[in-house]
């Protein structure tokens, strides 16, 4: 069973719908016991980095931290979920992220329209289990005002103002800035890859 961790950041209906379409059993929950029993975790979310506080604090934070340290449970962060897997964000400097990936998230400058909304193409930079079958140049759907920097674990980049991390992975930990649940066939393929891990 896949736990879709509900920490109060946005609407999770679309993620559930996509997993159901793929025939996966999933539960939307913030119950640390249910999260602890799940075989895989998805951390979606949109909105302010401040919203990630419940992922760090209390019993839920403890369960997630322990699982991440063991490294045996596939985790997929989506959008704000990916940003949380970096060290932090200038959006809420007082909070720390999971720090799986190195660097801080920052806002797009005034030089471009922000949020970055719409279908944009990604460049696949390294071999990736999550992006298996996804060619460089594939279009996926983004909607975000902050972006994660390119780091050594970046497997795909997107360029808007400058290159940023579109997807990153290390071991069983994966993150995507775009919304696979809203990215048509390419997005469903990525979710299927994750479910098949």
């Amino acid at each position: 069973m896949i736990a879709i961790v509900d920490y109060g950041a946005g609407n999770l209906t679309s993620v559930v719908k996509a997993l159901q379409h793929l025939g996966e059993e999933c539960a939307v929950t913030n119950d640390p016991d249910i999260v602890g029993r799940a075989t895989k975790w998805i951390i979606p979310g949109v909105g302010n980095f401040k919203a990630t506080a419940p992922l760090v604090n209390g019993k839920l934070g403890e369960v997630l931290r322990t699982g991440v340290d063991l490294g045996n449970r596939p985790l997929l962060g989506i959008c704000l979920g990916l940003q949380w897997m970096f060290e932090g964000s200038s959006e809420a400097p007082e909070l720390r992220g999971l720090a799986t990936f190195s660097g801080e998230c920052t806002r797009f400058s005034d030089q471009v329209k922000s949020p970055h909304v719409g279908w944009d193409s990604i460049a696949v930079e390294q071999r990736s289990r999550l992006l298996a079958g996804i060619p460089s140049g594939a279009y996926v759907y983004f909607t975000h005002s902050y972006r994660a920097p390119v780091c050594s674990d970046t497997v795909a980049t997107c360029t808007y103002e400058e290159p940023f991390t579109a997807a990153a992975e290390r071991g069983n930990l994966f993150g995507v800035q775009f919304h696979p649940e809203k990215s048509g066939d390419a997005g469903l393929q990525i979710l299927e890859n994750f479910c098949a891990l």
Binding site: N11, K113, V117, G118, T143, T159
Partner: protein, 258 residues
Amino acid sequence: MHCETLAKRIIACLDVNAGRVVKGIQFEQIRDAGDPAELALAHSQAGADEIVLLDITATAESRNTLLETVRRTARQLFIPFTVGGGIRSLDDAAAVLDCGADKVAMNSAAIADPALITRVAERYGSQAVVVAIDARQRTPTAWEVYVWGGRKQTGIDAKEWAKRAKELGAGEIMLTSMDRDGTKSGFDCPLTRTIATSVRIPVIASGGAGEPHHFVEVFQGGAADAALAASVFHFGLKSVTAIKQELRDAGIPVRPTC
């Protein structure tokens, strides 16, 4: 200077009345074009980048019908899906988002109660909030906002309202030219450019699409980020593929249709 890859979006709009897709010609004369769930899926498969469902009746009795339509339409749809029409409160917005919509479009209610924009944005994020503006030309450089499906003028300037909506938390503006709606004579490029260059959020141009070159014009001359059309797709006049091919030939970035 990097190559711009963010695709210009082609959005298919379904105007829905009592659970069926219809399309008005200049907000009157309505024709039936079928089942919303079926049409949304067909548009998605044909390469539309996004689907908008507008409930054009939005009376109290039609709310439950609408929610069921939204649920059915969302089930098979894995591209962005916006629902508008009759969203007057945070609860109305929550109901359609819970049924599987990704964004809500608000028009008359946002004019009557601008704080509603902020309430929905605070709860669901600005990416879920589209402010729809129906505008009619008043002078060569000014357009007035209309509400109630184009039946009531407000005296509010469209550009000023777009800027205010952005400040209040709107993530996108859906801008309909009432002068062009249903005419198939092309988008209102001066209106679109005026709004698109005054707000730093995406602007969706609507009203007037009839030919593929109209889309080229609104992206180049109108500075639109996305363009929306309804009847142009429903009645098979022009396929999304043909429109995207024309855009690609003009050097405009688009998402490939397959």
